[in-house]
Symmetry: C5
Subunit: 354 residues, 5 copies
């Protein structure tokens, strides 16, 4: 289950800008990969020491530095020093409890996003992705969960497919964001399937376990919403930012992601509405079924109660009870009792209680 709050308390009391990794360690080693490309050239390298990637800093080609794993605080400190990132940016990168946001520092734009992963269990795991977009570089930081939605982009860069190699760093940043948002649809589709399965189950045979499942879906929706909702504002302000780092042609693409984000939010809201409706229906179905059972049982009881009373009457030991001596008394009484039972059954039937 997603945690309600990351353990941030260890930072309390430290001066601002102190670098502490907040969040679970999700990968063994910090991996640094550099892709450097222009329309005609392409280089891809993985480094052990962070310093090696500083060589790419002043090349005119577009450089994409991808850092996988955040617990190696020293690496990130050095990278920040080299590129001149503000200490608060480095602090935010390490704190995986960030809300999606974008900040314009003039020289570079800092963007925080949430990637969604379907865990091996049914639950969704969120991973924080930080992007720093400079004039001719993009630095991306991942927590290092397995399964990377950036791979298709790497592939496109390698094979020079699409227009990506001919465009600047802003188009690369756009492509990364687009990959993340596209991935939301995949997660939401699985979610949608679970909701539709549950809906079918609900209409046919509501079980006690349905309630737990409904609760879990609702809970996950709360967390999804928290991850996606601020994205709207992020993409919107990116698209309208006055920063010269984003070219006019890329803005049209950002407007497109904005539409996608709205669609994701719409789908989440619709799901929430439906889950709320389903809870109401579940509760009334359960209560209806329960009531039917109790009514049935009570009716059975009610039919036998007067009969038992009659039997009790003729079990009394009074000396003067003329009926006891009648020749057909016993059999007649059976008839009377059957009559009473039939009458009550018919009465309940007519009242539509049975």
């Amino acid at each position: 289950m997603p945690e309600l709050m990351k353990r941030r308390s260890k930072k309390s009391g430290l001066p601002p800008g102190t670098l502490v990794h907040i969040g679970e360690k999700k990968t063994g080693e910090t991996k640094v990969t550099v892709i450097d490309y222009s329309e005609t050239e392409f280089r891809e390298q993985q480094f052990d020491a962070i310093e090696q990637c500083f060589l790419f800093k002043d090349t005119p080609s577009v450089t994409w530095i991808n850092v996988d794993g955040l617990h190696n605080v020293e690496y990130i400190q050095k990278l920040g020093d080299c590129y001149g990132f503000h200490p608060l940016v480095l602090e935010d990168i390490l704190n995986t409890d960030q809300r999606p946001k974008t900040e314009d520092f003039g020289e570079y734009l800092y963007i925080v996003l949430k990637m969604l992963h379907d865990g091996e269990s049914a639950e969704t795991v969120t991973e924080q992705i930080s992007l720093i977009l400079g004039r001719n570089f993009v630095v991306s930081f991942q927590e290092g969960i397995e399964g990377d939605v950036f791979n298709p982009i790497r592939e496109r860069l390698r094979t020079a497919k699409g227009r990506i190699r001919g465009m600047g760093a802003d188009y690369l940043a756009y492509s990364l964001i687009d990959a993340i948002v596209d991935n939301y649809f995949v997660v939401l589709e699985k979610m949608g399937e679970r909701i539709e399965d549950l809906e079918e189950e609900l209409v046919q045979t509501p079980l006690a376990g349905t309630l737990q499942e409904l609760y879990h879906l609702k809970r996950e929706m709360i967390f999804l919403r928290k991850a996606v909702w601020p994205l709207r504002e992020v993409i919107n302000s990116l698209g309208r930012a006055e920063s010269p780092l984003i070219s006019e042609s890329t803005r049209i693409y950002l407007r497109d992601i904005y539409d996608h984000t709205i669609q994701v939010i719409d789908a989440i809201e619709t799901s929430r509405d439906m889950l709320t409706g389903m809870l109401d229906i579940y509760l009334s179905s359960m209560s209806n079924r329960m009531n039917e059972v109790m009514k049935f049982l009570t009716i059975i009881g009610t039919i036998f109660i007067p009969l038992t009373f009659i039997a009790g009457v003729y079990g009394m030991n009074f000396e003067h009870m003329p009926e006891l001596k009648w020749r057909w008394g016993y059999f007649g009484l059976w008839g009377v009792m059957a009559g009473i039972a039939v009458f009550m059954l018919l009465y309940f039937k007519r009242k539509r209680w049975l």
Copy 2:
């Protein structure tokens, strides 16, 4: 039942602008119809090859190209290349999971709308309609569901009825949007009838099935709302767009559609409020009825319980039970028991429990 999410995942990882048809294939063949008209002339043709309609591109008369069926991706690609539409526009046309929106590309306006169809079952089907309005052309894309609300407009164009032939492409686009919005009223009326039927049923004889029907109506309302709500913004921004493609006289007509849209939204909100109210009433009616039944049954039980006890007492085998020997003991006891039953009935009556 309307799907919660279209299967978009097949697009994940592809570069932006890749044309993939997302959504069900709703018609067999892609049909392309061209209507070319001016105040005095009128031509209507259906083509097999998309290339044939490029001839109309540079005529001064207004050209309306209608594409019915979206699965023929190649056609749409060629059309886009010929008219110079942005790749993202073509991508959006093919993705039938769009939200209603409008975008101004300078040379042309791109508008996405949702058409509502009453399916053969009670359920409403939505169809995505894309419109592209240029200086002297309108291109419309439909998914190709049977039953087309654009037919009356074609008829008006053919017979030169109303002012439509004398006006520009913007008035044609307005007419198409108007036809779609007018159609919402038809769908909502049917919906309204179903709600009113249900309401009557509810007040008279609530059944267990009423709950399912309520849930379905609520669910459809959620989807209707999702289709109609963004329309408000779309029409509003069309009416206030600075684009020279829309003339001043057409803006007054757009304001009129805007009012209609608000009316549709109002009706949907009112229906939602009523459905919520009806659910509350249904639940309390059911619970009241159930309680009445249980109370009745319990009262019957309660009346017989002391009587059965008394009969049990005189069924005991003690040697010294003087009552058993009394001459009128048995008949007297019947009287006592009748008295107890009558007293309890009166007591319950007075307490208004019966």
Copy 3:
């Protein structure tokens, strides 16, 4: 009960500006009354033919044309042609499913309002009133329901009471709107009385019928709200309109109606809140009462169950049951049973279950 949707579907497919009367026909004949007045003069006439009132068009005095009944489409067409109203305005006048709104056409202002009538039954009926305010004329259109709140204004015009005769057409329009809004208070007061009656009933003796009444009131509130809510915006934009048709002194009066509208909306919202609170209270009262009854009945049952068991024991036919031969066995057992009953009653009393 107010209809959820007017039957608008007959318009679907017709070109915009086609005049079709949508809504019930509420009066037999269309009546046209003209009042023409200045500070010193006053004329009032009722016409059979609409053409006769065109004579007043160019007089410098203020002319008030009142059209009662909307099904005579031809009249309205002619009137519109004579005064040069936009076809969409005429269409809106005939469509009684409009939302309150105001539109500025430069030469004239078009205003739609809803009049509320207490029907003979408890239900509220809404009537659409359209006003067109020109430089020196007001044209008003009513659906023609009996009982007209404009009569006091006619009386004031005839008797030159108040300042109305000395002011322009804008003050006349204001007076008409004021009469409509004032009438809302009358309707809301009756509504308020029904709510207060219901509240008293609720606190004292909630009945099953209370639920139906609550539902009806809630439903009517939904419709009232729909009629009144947009009025706020209408009056506000009238008061701030840049139109020269409304003089500065009349604007102060419009601000006054604006306050009244806010009060009406406040009262509606308060009523809604109260009705929601009352539903909660009703449901819990009913459930509490029900539970009390069931508890009482179950307690009676519970007291007799062990006694019946004891009687059953001494009704057994074992040969060796020493108690049966005891001299005071029978009477002793009565004592024991009475003791058990008293003990249980005291126990339940102490537990506060009785």
Copy 4:
């Protein structure tokens, strides 16, 4: 209980500006008190005839005219004529169903507020206070309920305590508003105490009466909210008004009242949230308690039902029932029955049903 709607209907049909007192008559006689002061001088007089206070109109000193009781329409008419108030202002003063508001008439500002009084019963009574602030005068109108929060201000004026005597009419108006808002805290504190008492009662021993009390508190909150909510806007627009009647130094004080108003609104919203939470808890507590009782009773019944069955079996009159002849049959059966009862008790205990 506060009325939902004041009886305004008697005004319907009258021309605007007609003076009719709407609301209950709350005092016997209309009292007019005039306080006239400057930094050095102070005069206080009570008048029988309203005309006498016109003498103060043109003095340079600050004049505070306080009118207690609104049913004397003639007085208010004369006062209005003398000071040149707009007829709509006079109408609003007399209509005690106003919403708090402020209006700028250039020469003077008109302010409507609601004073809260704790009635002798637990209920809160609202009184409408109208203030008119001119260049060197303040006219205040009260409905005349006993207990006046303006007394401390009179005292401060008499004794020249604080800075009030040295400041202008705007500071006097501010002081009056401040006194009213401060009084809200007193009323809310009492309310808060009632809520906290109820909360304690709820946690310890929820009674049926708790529900009524909850409903009454909720109802009062609705009315309080209606009285206080618009105040926020009133004070805010006063503080930012461009009127030269309010000096810069007084604006700081108005900002202070604005904060107080927000605190009052906060407290009301918090109370509403808590009352809603309390209703939920009350309902579930009641239902839990009820269920516990029913479960206990049903368990008692369930234990005796099989025992009664066994006793019934050995009460049968078959000729061949070997157990009946066993020497220890009867006592053995007692043992068996005790064993069954103990077993069932243990079973229910283990299932945690007891």
Copy 5:
């Protein structure tokens, strides 16, 4: 439990600007500590008499005066006179029922915040912190609850750790606010743990006490929200204030706190949503469990009722009851009764009622 309203009524009727301490006295003695520092120098002193700290007023170094304990009204009066604070500011400092806010008085900024403390019991205690930021001084006022989150800042000042000694008074004020906001995360984490514990309990074994705990958490959330929500606006307006007291470099840090505040608000909203969801689940779980018990008990009853009836029948004393004489009648009847019981058990099993 946090009080709903502070006892403010004692201020009612006093002139504005009168200094009265509203709120509990939370510490024995008022402590005044002064820290005076520049990049190179550092002095820290605790004073008995407030006058002693006036010496620091005109030094060029940054002076931080911290006042611990608010009941010594005289101290605060003197401090205010010396530094020239507005009387309303002093009034607000003493009134611990303030809402977080910021006010710009030109010469200085006044900021009110709420500090959260975990009391020894599970409950959260709020403490009001007032900050006054001048050109080269910060005055902070605390209520004096034990446990001070400002200690790490003092330590940093003493040891010249981080950049704090080299920056101005605005950075000091920022650091104080940052310490307060960081502390919110600590409190929220504990809260989050309690919620997660409760959630686990809920899923496994819901108890009656769970309801109380849920209610307490919800109640605390209401109060937390009240304390934190306005903070958003405070920090936002600080960051965008035009005041020259806040330097450009500090604004970036304020933007960082703003993000933290949004995260805190997000966490609170998420917790509220989850608590609401948990209440729904708790109620339905309890009701499901209860229903299961009642169903089980009723089924046991229902099985024995017909058996008891049969036993009653053969306990009747009719002279002619042939079955009684049958040789195997008694044993046969046992068989019949066992058969009926087994049949009913199977029937209930198949219906899934058991």
